[in-house]
C-alpha cells in the first residue's frame, strides 16, 4: 500500500491559554479510519486543543499539517474541505430551518455565487436522516430542544463530507439512547468513508467503547496518547480526573465507575 501522508500530524505542538499550559511538544498523527477521544478535566484545554487543530486558533507554523501541508498555508476554505468541527456552543440569532442549517455544511464545496444543487440537497437529507431527524427539515432551529439542536450540528458536519471530523463534547444534551446512537453513527460513517474522528468527551465509558485511540490531557502540558487498550488504565484515569474509580468488566469491554 503506497505511503499516504497522515490526515493530521502534530509536531512539537505547544498550546497555552495565558499562563495555563495545555500541551507541550505534543506529537501525534491521525490516520484514516481512526477514532480518537480526548479526555481531561474541565478547563484543561480540550476545546482549545480542538480549536487549534481546526485552525481556529493560531499555532506555530509547521506544527500542524493536514495531508502533509502545513495548516497555516491553507486558506480557510481549503481547510474546511478537509476538516470539519462541531463546536460546543452554537448561536441561533435568526430563525432558520433545519435543512437550511445542514445545507450550510456544503458551503466549502461551493463558490460564493453558486446555489446548492440537487446533489447537495441529497447529501444534506441523508445526513439529517442519519441523525434520526427525518421529518424535521422545515423546523425552525430556534425551537428545537438541546439534544435535537446538537444533532443538527452533527448532521451539518456529516454533510460537509470531510476526511477529518472534530467534535467538541458531541454528547452534551443528548439522552442515553441518542448518545450511543450518535457515536455509533459517527464511528460507522468514519469507517465506511475511511475518514477519521477526533472528539472531546466527558464520559470515559463512551470513549472506551467507541474510540480506538485516546489522548489524555493530564494538565500542565502533560499528555498520554495511544491505543485505548494501552492507555486506559484505572490508575491513569484516577489521576486524570482526580477521583477514585472502580473498574468493571462488561461484555462490551471495561468500564469505570466513580466511587
Amino acid at each position: 500500500m503506497p505511503d499516504q501522508p497522515p490526515l493530521l500530524k502534530c509536531s512539537a505542538l505547544d498550546i497555552d491559554i495565558g499562563s495555563i499550559i495545555v500541551t507541550r511538544g505534543l506529537e501525534f498523527t491521525i490516520e484514516p479510519g481512526q477514532c480518537w477521544c480526548v479526555l481531561g478535566r474541565n478547563g484543561i484545554g480540550k476545546t482549545t486543543l480542538l480549536h487549534t487543530l481546526a485552525g481556529l486558533r493560531a499555532s506555530a507554523p509547521e506544527s500542524i499539517e493536514l495531508n502533509a501541508t502545513p495548516l497555516h498555508q491553507l486558506s480557510r476554505r481549503e481547510v474546511a474541505r478537509k476538516l470539519g468541527i462541531v463546536l460546543q456552543h452554537c448561536e441561533d440569532n435568526f430563525p432558520a430551518t433545519v435543512m437550511e442549517t445542514v445545507l450550510q455544511g456544503r458551503h466549502p464545496h461551493l463558490h460564493n455565487w453558486q446555489w446548492e444543487s440537487g446533489v447537495d440537497h441529497a447529501i444534506a437529507t441523508q445526513a439529517i436522516e442519519q441523525l434520526g431527524l427525518g421529518g424535521y427539515e422545515a423546523r425552525n432551529v430556534q425551537t428545537l430542544s438541546g439534544g435535537e439542536r446538537q444533532r443538527v450540528s452533527i448532521a451539518t458536519l456529516l454533510a460537509q463530507q470531510t476526511e477529518l471530523m472534530l467534535l467538541d463534547e458531541p454528547t452534551n444534551h443528548l439522552d442515553l439512547h441518542h448518545r450511543v446512537q450518535v457515536l455509533d453513527t459517527l464511528v460507522s460513517h468514519g469507517r465506511e468513508t475511511n475518514s477519521a474522528v477526533l472528539m472531546a468527551l466527558h464520559d470515559i465509558n463512551l470513549a472506551a467503547r467507541f474510540a480506538d485511540h485516546v489522548l489524555l490531557l493530564l494538565g500542565n502540558g502533560e499528555s498520554r496518547l495511544g491505543r485505548k487498550e494501552q492507555i486506559l488504565e484505572t490508575a491513569t484515569l484516577e489521576r486524570l480526573y482526580d477521583h477514585p474509580l472502580t473498574r468493571v468488566e462488561t461484555p462490551l469491554g471495561p468500564a469505570w465507575l466513580p466511587q
Partner: protein
C-alpha cells in the same frame, strides 16, 4: 427559501417599486399629469415633473435601497435582529455635521459635504476605538458604536437647545428625514451599485456569519476580512443615505425583517429583495408625506414610522405560527 422562489419574489418587489414610483410622481401640492408632461416638455407641468418630482422620486428609491441594504448588513454583522443602520453612530456624526452647517447658514452642497464628513469621521472613530489593542470582536464594536451614538445624540440636543429659533425648524426637519431638496441622485446611485455588487457576491458567506463567527470560519469563511468589508459597506451606505435625506428611520430596521417573515432568510434573496423593498417603502412614505397635509409637507421620517410600525406588527402577528412550528 429555495432558489426557484426567488424570481417571483423579486418580480413582485420590482413591480411594487414601479407602482410606488408612479404614485410618487403623482403626489404633491401641484396636480401633475405625467402623460401630458412627457408630451409637452415646456409647460409648468413638465417642469414640476422633471425638475422636482423625478429627482425626488429617484432619490427616495436610492435612499430607501441604501437604508435597506445597510440595515440587513448591520443585522448580520452584529448578529442582532435589533440592529439598524444608525446603531453604530454613523447618522449621529452626519447629523452633527449637518446641524453645524445649518447653523453656519451653509447652502445645500456644503450641508451635504458636512453631513458626509461627519458620517465618515464617526465611522473611522468607531472602527479605531473598537479595534483597540487586538482584533475587534462584535460586542466591543457594538458597545463602542452605541456609546458614540449616544454621545452624538447629546451633541445634537446641545445644538438644538442653543441654536437661534430660525435655524431650529430646519434642523428638526433634517433630523426627521427630509427629501424636499433632493436632486438627481447620481452619486447615490453609483454608491448603491458599488455596495450592492460586493454584498451580493458575499451573500452565501453572510448566511454563515449569522450562525456565529467560529462556525462560519469552520465552514470556510475568512471572517476577519468579511467583518471589515461588511462594516465599510454598511457605513458607506448609511452615510450616503443620511447625506441625501437626513435621518429616515425604520426602513433599515424593518425592511430586512419583513422579508425574513415572508421566508426570504437567505441573503442571496434577502439582499436584492431589501434593495427594492427599502426603495418601495420610502417611495410610498415620501409620496404620502406630500399628500397627507397638502399643500404642506411632513418630514418623511414620520411617515416611515407610521407605515412601518403597523405593517411590521401585522406581519409579525401573521407569522406567529411559523416562529413556533
Amino acid at each position: 427559501m429555495h432558489q426557484t422562489r426567488t424570481r417571483p419574489l423579486l418580480l413582485t418587489l420590482i413591480t411594487t417599486t414601479l407602482l410606488a414610483g408612479w404614485f410618487s410622481l403623482n403626489s404633491g401640492s401641484v396636480p401633475v399629469n405625467v402623460w401630458d408632461a412627457i408630451q409637452h416638455p415646456q409647460t409648468l407641468n413638465a417642469q414640476v415633473l422633471w425638475e422636482l418630482r423625478l429627482p425626488r422620486t429617484l432619490t427616495a428609491f436610492v435612499t430607501g435601497a441604501l437604508l435597506g441594504i445597510a440595515g440587513a448588513l448591520m443585522q448580520v454583522l452584529l448578529r442582532n435582529p435589533l440592529a439598524d443602520p444608525y446603531i453604530l453612530g454613523v447618522s449621529g456624526g452626519a447629523s452633527v455635521g449637518a446641524l453645524l452647517a445649518i447653523l453656519a447658514g451653509a447652502g445645500s452642497l456644503a450641508l451635504q459635504s458636512s453631513a458626509f464628513a461627519g458620517a465618515l469621521f464617526s465611522t473611522l472613530l468607531v472602527f479605531s476605538l473598537a479595534h483597540g489593542r487586538g482584533n475587534w470582536d462584535t460586542t466591543r464594536l457594538l458597545l463602542t458604536g452605541v456609546v458614540l451614538a449616544a454621545g452624538w445624540g447629546a451633541l445634537i440636543s446641545l445644538l438644538l437647545a442653543t441654536s437661534p429659533g430660525t435655524h431650529v425648524h430646519g434642523m428638526l426637519f433634517w433630523l426627521m428625514g427630509d427629501l424636499s431638496s433632493a436632486t438627481v441622485p447620481v452619486t447615490g446611485s453609483l454608491v448603491l451599485i458599488l455596495i450592492a455588487l460586493p454584498a451580493l457576491l458575499l451573500s452565501a458567506s453572510l448566511n454563515l456569519l449569522s450562525g456565529g463567527e467560529l462556525r462560519a470560519a469552520s465552514l470556510g469563511v475568512a471572517i476577519g476580512r468579511l467583518r471589515i468589508t461588511i462594516y465599510i459597506l454598511a457605513s458607506l451606505a448609511t452615510a450616503t443615505a443620511v447625506t441625501q435625506a437626513g435621518n429616515v428611520g425604520f426602513i433599515g430596521l424593518i425592511a430586512p425583517h419583513i422579508l425574513r417573515l415572508t421566508g426570504a432568510r437567505d441573503h442571496r434573496v434577502l439582499l436584492p429583495g431589501v434593495i427594492f423593498l427599502g426603495g418601495t417603502l420610502l417611495l410610498v412614505a415620501d409620496a404620502l408625506s406630500r399628500r397627507v397635509i397638502a399643500p404642506g409637507q411632513l418630514p418623511v421620517g414620520i411617515l416611515t414610522a407610521l407605515i412601518g410600525v403597523p405593517l411590521f406588527l401585522y406581519l409579525l402577528y401573521r407569522a406567529g405560527s411559523t416562529y413556533d412550528a
